[in-house]
């Protein structure tokens, strides 16, 4: 089966979702949006997805330039109209799944989308954490992704912790009374999961053709030892790729994240 890296990443993420997944999305979230829609069209028809965190059970014909725009809401069964509609379901864990990314990520799945450099005099001012600082704390199932697996993105020390992953590692989240934590990080080179004790990232699978050495070289922090031999990331099926290309994202909006 011929496929591209964006398709492998979407399919890999989609396969993590189930009929119990109750998700929503934030800004510039093309990869997870595609993954929710793909999962719902394949193995998880009961999956809940609120487009832009607003449009529940939306079924858009195509994905627009903004994953927070009303272009994503077509076919929804409910439009959430107030902040109460959303935040009570998020903090109350009626929703259970959130995916986010950042300009920097650390070994514990904490994320920076605020500044590069010092906060007061930044070298680069980024858009801001938005809902990350909230939802990283509230949701039990956190998924991370990155289309730029390099040492500038995967860093030992964040310049600013905008979004909470496993915090300082170990039982840090539990001590703060926060549920669950990051489950996976899907990158353009591999899939990371988290060591159950230290909560540091480790390689779960390598995308076809990628070596352990390549991943180590592209990662700015030390990885936890993997559990046994590292397998290859399972490839997408022809049917998954067809549905993604033809039904979920016919205009290729997801490629905005791969420029």
């Amino acid at each position: 089966m011929s496929y591209t890296i964006d398709e492998l990443m979407v399919v890999t993420l989609a396969r993590e979702f189930t009929n119990e997944t109750r998700a929503f999305n934030g800004a510039v979230s093309f990869v997870p949006v595609c993954a929710y829609l793909l999962a719902r069209r394949t193995h998880a028809p009961e999956l809940v997805w609120a487009a832009s965190s607003i449009a529940i059970d939306a079924d858009p014909k195509a994905i627009p330039e903004s994953t927070l725009s009303d272009g994503l809401w077509d076919g929804a069964a409910m439009l959430s109209g107030s902040s109460y509609d959303f935040w009570s379901f998020a903090q109350g864990r009626r929703y259970n799944t959130f995916a986010f990314r950042g300009a920097q990520m650390d070994a514990y799945g904490n994320v920076n989308n605020t500044v590069i450099g010092p906060y007061e005099s930044p070298k680069v001012r980024l858009p801001g954490g938005g809902g990350m600082a909230d939802l990283g704390c509230m949701l039990p199932l956190i998924y991370l992704w990155s289309t730029t697996h390099d040492p500038r993105t995967f860093v030992e020390q964040l310049d600013f912790r905008s979004g909470m992953g496993w915090g300082d590692g170990g039982d840090d989240r539990a001590r703060l009374g926060l549920p669950g934590g990051p489950q996976l990080c899907v990158t353009n080179l591999c899939v990371f999961d988290f060591d159950p004790g230290s909560k540091r990232m480790r390689i779960r699978s390598l995308h076809p053709g990628v070596t352990v050495e390549q991943v180590i070289e592209a990662t700015g922090f030390e990885l936890a030892a993997p559990e046994g031999e590292v397998p290859a990331t399972p490839e997408p099926t022809a049917e998954e790729v067809r549905i993604l290309r033809e039904e979920v994202d016919p205009t290729g909006a997801r490629l905005r994240e791969f420029r």
Partner: protein, 297 residues
């Protein structure tokens, strides 16, 4: 309905109310439903030293920063979404010309709710373990529940001098309808403000509200000023009547690859036109509006 005081003002009269140094909250959610006609009118006044509170916004902050109106931005997210980073905002922060007081969406909503309810704080789990709490030790206090010892964040009130939101229709008495009722954080912005200004697509008779009272969104005693601005959210959307103008955002971002082009774009398409209608004309007029209009059922 004679004898009642009219709250109807022009955009220009409404913008005149905002003094230098005011703290203003701006409604809308990213590409959706921002009171852009008011923002542009305010930017053209060159009011100074504003503190601008916007939970998730891009283009309103861009224009106010470009006009030199802003001292401090209080926000969770400032971007132009899939179109790119907010270029004026980013440059101004990096040059030290504008302060950014970053909150998260929910801590900001909680602070506005605390102001609206006149409570000492509203609690949330948001922000625990993040650096955002370190930025705001006084306004986002790490506390522990006395009974259970569970940690939480106490978000203190953020009162606004002015809250500005866009809506579908209003009467001159100040009853306001957002139809359908998608208000997101606008409810908090309107309620946390000492003075609430609402721009609307159209003015309708008071009888419209009496005929369908369950569909009134903001009651007249909470609305101070109403200004009519058809297509008043442009270039953001006003669901379901019109979508955002993707062409505008694409060309806005493209123009910011050079300072000369950016200045030209600002002068020709945003700051130059005096009245709201002239502004719409400068951005393609009827052709643009027909392109973004949605078929409604």
């Amino acid at each position: 309905m004679t004898g009642h005081e009219s709250k109807l003002r022009t955009l220009e009269e409404a913008a005149e109310l905002i003094p230098d140094g005011a703290t203003i909250g701006i409604g809308g959610l990213s590409m959706n439903g921002a009171p852009m006609a008011f923002v542009r009118t305010l930017a053209r006044r060159r009011v100074k030293d504003l503190t601008v509170v916007a939970v998730v916004a891009g283009i309103p902050i861009e224009w106010l920063v470009a006009a030199g109106c802003v001292r401090r931005v209080v926000s969770g997210l400032v971007s132009l979404e899939g179109f790119g980073l907010a270029p004026r905002f980013r440059a101004a922060v990096q040059a030290g010309q504008v302060e950014i007081d970053e909150y998260s969406e929910h801590t900001l909503i909680c602070r506005l709710q605390a102001a609206a309810h006149r409570l000492p704080f509203v609690p949330t789990k948001a922000g625990l373990g993040t650096d955002m709490l370190k930025l705001h030790p006084e306004t986002l206090r790490l506390e522990h529940d006395p009974a259970t010892e569970e940690p939480f964040v106490a978000c203190t009130p953020l009162p606004l001098d002015f809250g500005i939101v866009h809506a579908t229709e209003a009467s001159t008495r100040g009853n306001v309808r957002v139809d359908p009722k998608l208000i997101w954080m606008d409810g908090e912005v309107a309620r946390a403000a000492a003075t609430t200004i609402v721009t609307v697509e159209r003015i309708v008779p008071e009888a419209t509200f009496v005929a369908a009272p369950a569909r009134t969104t903001y009651p007249r005693f909470t609305v101070d000023v109403v200004a009519e601005a058809p297509w008043g959210a442009y270039p953001t959307s006003s669901f379901p009547r019109y979508g955002y103008d993707g062409d505008f955002f694409r060309s806005y971002v493209a123009a910011h690859t050079s300072p000369e082009q950016a200045q030209q774009f600002w002068a020709d398409r945003i700051d130059g036109p005096e009245r709201h209608g002239a502004f719409l004309d400068a951005n393609g007029g009827a052709r643009t509006l027909l392109a973004i209009a949605r078929r409604t059922s």
